[in-house]
C-alpha cells in the first residue's frame, strides 16, 4: 500500500465556497480538509518522490521545483479568486492529517486574524527598474590642469549623487502613490539580476494589498505611473493579483527586512 504525506497549499475559512480545483502537485486531487472554523486545501502526495528527503534532495533541481511551485501556485490562485486564503510557503508537509489538524488548532487565532486581514483584498507586485545604465559623464582628459580635473570630477560626483537622491525620491513617490490606494503596502529587498532575470537594476520591489473595490483605481494609477516613468528613465512592471504572501503569517518578518 502506498504511503502518503500531506501537502497543504493554504488555509481558508470553513465556509469558503468549494469548487472544481485544478490538478495538484504530481497530478493529485486537491481536497478541502476542515478543522472547525478553518479548512486547509491539501493534496495527499506519495511519500515515494515527495517525502521530506525528496524535498531536501531536490532543493537545487530547477525543473522539479518549477513543477511543484507552479502547481502550488495554480491551486492557490484558484482559491484566491473566490475566497480569502492564507497561502503556505513551500515546503508545506505534514506527516498526516492529524498533525495538520493539530497545527490548525494551535495556530487558529493567527490564521483567523490573517484571513480577516486579507478578506476581500488581493496582492499586487510592482517592480521598478532603472531603464539604462547611468552614463558616466565624459570628463575630458584634455582639461587644462590637475586642479581643473579635480574640480570637474567633484562637480560630476555631486551631480551624480544629487541625481541618485532624486531617483530614490521618485521611486519613493511611486511607492507611496500606489500605497494611497492600497489597504497595506510594503517594500521588500530589490532582487538581484539572477532572481529578477533582468539586467537592469531593480529600484523598487513593492507589494500592495488592494481591496477589491479599489482594484480598478489601483490598476489605472499603475498604468499612469508606468507611462510617466518611461520618460523619467524607469521601467515599471505590475504583476498580479496574487494570494497575499506578503501580508500573512511569516511574511511579517520577511517584510521587515525591507530597506529604506
Amino acid at each position: 500500500m502506498d504511503e502518503t504525506i500531506v501537502h497543504a497549499y493554504g488555509v481558508v475559512a470553513a465556509g469558503a465556497p468549494n469548487s472544481q480545483f485544478p490538478p495538484g502537485i504530481a497530478d493529485t486531487s486537491v481536497w478541502v480538509f476542515g478543522a472547525n472554523n478553518l479548512a486547509a486545501i491539501v493534496s495527499l502526495l506519495p511519500v515515494e518522490g515527495f517525502g521530506v528527503t525528496d524535498w531536501q534532495r531536490n532543493a537545487g533541481n530547477v525543473s522539479w521545483l518549477r513543477h511543484v511551485a507552479h502547481r502550488h501556485h495554480e491551486v492557490l490562485q484558484h482559491v484566491a479568486n473566490t475566497a480569502a486564503v492564507v497561502p503556505l510557503r513551500l515546503p508545506s508537509l505534514y506527516r498526516n492529517l492529524e498533525s495538520l489538524a493539530d497545527t490548525l488548532h494551535a495556530a487558529n487565532d493567527r490564521l483567523e486574524r490573517d484571513l480577516r486581514r486579507v478578506q476581500g483584498k488581493l496582492e499586487w507586485a510592482v517592480k521598478v527598474y532603472r531603464a539604462a545604465e547611468e552614463q558616466s559623464s565624459a570628463i575630458s582628459t584634455a582639461t587644462a590642469s590637475g586642479r581643473d580635473y579635480l574640480m570637474a570630477r567633484s562637480r560630476d560626483l555631486s551631480a551624480r549623487s544629487g541625481a541618485r537622491e532624486q531617483l530614490r525620491e521618485q521611486v519613493r513617490e511611486i511607492h507611496d502613490a500606489l500605497g494611497q490606494v492600497s489597504a497595506e503596502y510594503v517594500r521588500n529587498q530589490p532582487q538581484d539580476a539572477v532572481l529578477s532575470g533582468r539586467r537592469e537594476q531593480m529600484l523598487l520591489n513593492g507589494a500592495y494589498l488592494v481591496s477589491s473595490v479599489d482594484q480598478a483605481r489601483f490598476l489605472e494609477l499603475a498604468a499612469e505611473i508606468a507611462d510617466d516613468s518611461l520618460a523619467l528613465g524607469f521601467w515599471v512592471e505590475v504583476n498580479g493579483p496574487w494570494p497575499a504572501y506578503n501580508f500573512t503569517g511569516d511574511a511579517e518578518t520577511a517584510a521587515r527586512e525591507a530597506i529604506e
Binding site: P17, N81, T82, A216, L219, E220, D227, G240, W242
Partner: protein, 216 residues
C-alpha cells in the same frame, strides 16, 4: 450517512431513493429535521454525482420547505445528526420560516468579449493590459449595478457570486414573482451589450441559508 436538507420538524418526506440507491430517511428534532440517506463509506464525488444530488434536492423542494445542505456532507450516526440538530435547530427553524414561499434564481451575464483574464495573474505587465483589466472591472461593476436595479423590486435578498467570466447574481424571490423577474432580465438582454444572459432556477435557496444575507 449523506445529508440532503434541513426541513421543518413535521415535514412529510416522500418515499424516494437517494444518490446511492437507499431510501431517504428523516431524523427529527423538536424544531427541525434532517433528510439523510444511509451511505456506505465510499462516495464518488464527481460532477455527475453533484448533478444527480442537485436533481434530488430540487425534487424534494417541490414537496417541502427546506434549507439544502452543502454536498457532500456525511455524518456517521443518527446521534451525531441529532447533536447537530440540537445545536442549530432553533436558528434553522427561524430561517426556514423566513424562506417560506421563496426560491433562488441565479442570473448570469457574459459579454461578447470574454474577460477571462480577470481571474488570472498574467505575466503581461504592459500598460494596455492594466488599463484593459481596469475597464473589465468597471464593466463588471456596471453590470452588477444594472442587474441589481432591475431585480430590486422582486428580490428580497441579492448576493453577488464569484464569477471568472461575466457576472453572476443570486436573487431570493417570491415564487409568484419568478416569471416577472425572468421577463425583466430577458428584456434587459434584448437591450444589448451582453452576448449571453441566462436565468437559472427557480431553485432551493442554496445561497441564502444563513440569516445574514451578506456573503463572505
Amino acid at each position: 450517512m449523506l445529508l440532503y436538507a434541513v426541513v421543518p420538524a413535521d415535514a412529510t418526506v416522500p418515499e424516494t431513493r437517494g444518490l446511492v440507491g437507499h431510501r431517504l430517511e428523516t431524523i427529527r428534532g423538536a424544531l427541525a429535521a434532517v433528510i439523510v440517506e444511509e451511505c456506505s463509506d465510499r462516495l464518488r464525488a464527481t460532477n455527475d454525482e453533484s448533478g444527480a444530488f442537485a436533481k434530488i434536492i430540487c425534487d424534494l423542494a417541490t414537496r417541502t420547505l427546506m434549507l439544502p445542505i452543502r454536498f457532500p456532507t456525511l455524518l456517521t450516526t443518527t446521534s451525531v445528526v441529532l447533536a447537530e440538530l440540537q445545536a442549530n435547530q432553533a436558528a434553522w427553524r427561524e430561517r426556514l420560516s423566513e424562506l417560506d414561499g421563496l426560491s433562488e434564481v441565479v442570473i448570469r451575464a457574459q459579454w461578447a468579449q470574454p474577460d477571462r483574464d480577470l481571474g488570472l495573474a498574467s505575466d503581461s505587465s504592459g500598460t494596455t493590459y492594466l488599463v484593459n483589466r481596469a475597464s473589465a472591472i468597471h464593466r463588471r461593476e456596471a453590470s452588477v449595478a444594472e442587474i441589481t436595479d432591475l431585480v430590486r423590486s422582486c428580490a428580497r435578498e441579492i448576493k453577488v457570486l464569484h464569477s471568472q467570466r461575466g457576472v453572476r447574481i443570486a436573487c431570493l424571490v417570491g415564487n409568484a414573482d419568478v416569471p416577472k423577474l425572468r421577463d425583466a432580465v430577458l428584456s434587459w438582454r434584448q437591450a444589448g451589450g451582453h452576448r449571453q444572459v441566462v436565468v437559472g432556477g427557480p431553485w432551493p435557496p442554496f445561497s441564502f441559508v444563513d440569516q445574514e444575507a451578506v456573503g463572505a
